[in-house]
């Protein structure tokens, strides 16, 4: 798959998955947040979809940067700057489509680092990082696509017993325990969409 095709497929697949799961994300956010995560993600990736043509014709890194900026300027909330910064950082870290597992891991790592520094957070705080970092680890450990998917899903489940210490859920203290983190779930959805795109290759 050429870079332009991959970019277009990624945009479509991520957009579809977010759209299909928007109410689920909102419900998760209603339990321990403010009930807007589904709408935030949908608005952001709709805006990215609106730029599909232009993005597909950019170099891979530039497209990621531009998509990140679009997320920042359209999402708002916590997820806007976090996903936005992640995509921008990934775009900065790699000019072209990653050609190997190692390059793919480097790309994701750059995104994760951006989330950590933007969110002043790390794994264990019951956030999207608790989905993204296990996925990175599984890639680094040589997992195949099916195993990466599994790692993402397991990581999402694993946020359930966590006590939130970052984001809006942190205000709940103990009451945040027992619920899946909406940002972890949306991260897993994106991971799934990327896996689908890669399988089409």
């Amino acid at each position: 798959m050429t870079s332009d095709v991959l970019i277009a497929r990624l945009i479509d697949l991520i957009g579809d998955r977010i759209e299909a799961h928007a109410s689920e994300l909102t419900e998760l956010d209603q339990a321990i947040g403010d009930g807007d995560h589904g709408d935030n993600m949908r608005r952001g990736f709709k805006a990215v979809s609106g730029e599909k043509e232009a993005l597909a014709n950019m170099p891979f890194g530039e497209a990621l940067k531009k998509a990140g900026m679009t997320l920042v300027m359209n999402v708002g909330g916590a997820s806007g700057p976090l996903y936005g910064s992640a995509f921008m950082a990934m775009g900065k870290s790699a000019e072209a489509m990653p050609g190997s597992r190692v390059e793919a891991a480097r790309l994701l790592e750059a995104g994760i680092e951006a989330v950590k520094s933007r969110g002043k957070s790390d794994v264990g705080a019951k956030t999207m990082l608790d989905a993204l970092v296990p996925v990175l680890k599984s890639i680094e450990a040589g997992a195949d696509i099916a195993a990466v998917r599994k790692a993402a899903d397991a990581a999402v489940e694993a946020t359930k017993p966590m006590l939130a210490t970052k984001g809006r859920a942190a205000f709940l203290g103990e009451r945040s325990i027992g619920h899946i983190d909406p940002g972890a779930r949306s991260s897993a959805l994106i991971v799934h969409a990327v896996c689908d795109a890669l399988e089409e290759k």
Binding site: D36, D39, K166, F171, L172
Partner: protein, 331 residues
Amino acid sequence: MKKLINATDDILAESLRGFAAAHADIVELSEEPRFVMRKGGAVKGKVALISGGGSGHEPLHTGFVGKGMLDAACPGQIFTSPTPDQMIAAAQAVDGGAGVLWIVKNYSGDVMNFEMVSEFHDGNSATVLTNDDVAVESSTHSQGRRGVAATVIVEKIVGAAAEQGADLAACKALGDRVNSASGTMGVALTSCIVPAAGKPTFDLGEGEIEMGVGIHGEPGRRREALKPADAIVGEFVETILADLKPASGEEVLVLVNGMGGTPLMELYLVYDAVARQCAEHGLKIERSLVGNYCTSLEMQGCSVTITKLDDEMKSLWDAPVRTAALNWGNG
């Protein structure tokens, strides 16, 4: 979901248009990027106060744009922090050369979006982060406390100082001082309904209340059985005073703030309870404000804010203000 709306996606645009039309003598609206600014824009030589945050807390912040208070407000989607492009455009429109003071409620989303502004826009600026919500004990989390209704008091008092010519450093210091002198706690009797979600954020039983609720329908300290106003206010006042530790005889400002769905009759009844209890604690209520100022859509409930006052804060509180939601002292 029953609301006076057309399509969910148009709520914000239509509501802002209505607001701007109803207050065309006070504000101007930019639709894209979205911000509301004081009519006439930048005031030369004056520090520009800009606030913003998710919508659904009206009149916060758009209702506080005008002479003696905010120069601009950036409304995000409902309960969602605005995006940096809005803040940048607002700053460009109202910066009168003396710098921008951002007034931001302490939520990670808001903080991150306002932080990003500095990465795209340079200019002299400072930020006051409000975090007056005493409901959640700060030890149990690392996010700090939420910014809630005291934001109104910060905006009013710092707005008056800026209008009188205070420079950026003085405005920033004053804002931090008012914030530290303030504590707030809230209660919900019912949940709000985020339009895009279409159903209540939480379910409260007929006899239940959520003590220490935030302004986004986030759960608070605990859910418990409905209790009399005096008992609710009792817990508010104890918790706030434990945090503020005022001296006996200290002068305070009391804000009884409706969450949006509670009628004035109840808010004044709550004020009566606060006044009685403040008197018992030897506090002197020197200024007060009762009404819907920092709301949470149609949620029923209220919050109580107590701010320790000094003479400067008192005189700045009394200074003229002319906004859609606060209006006094104008000839």
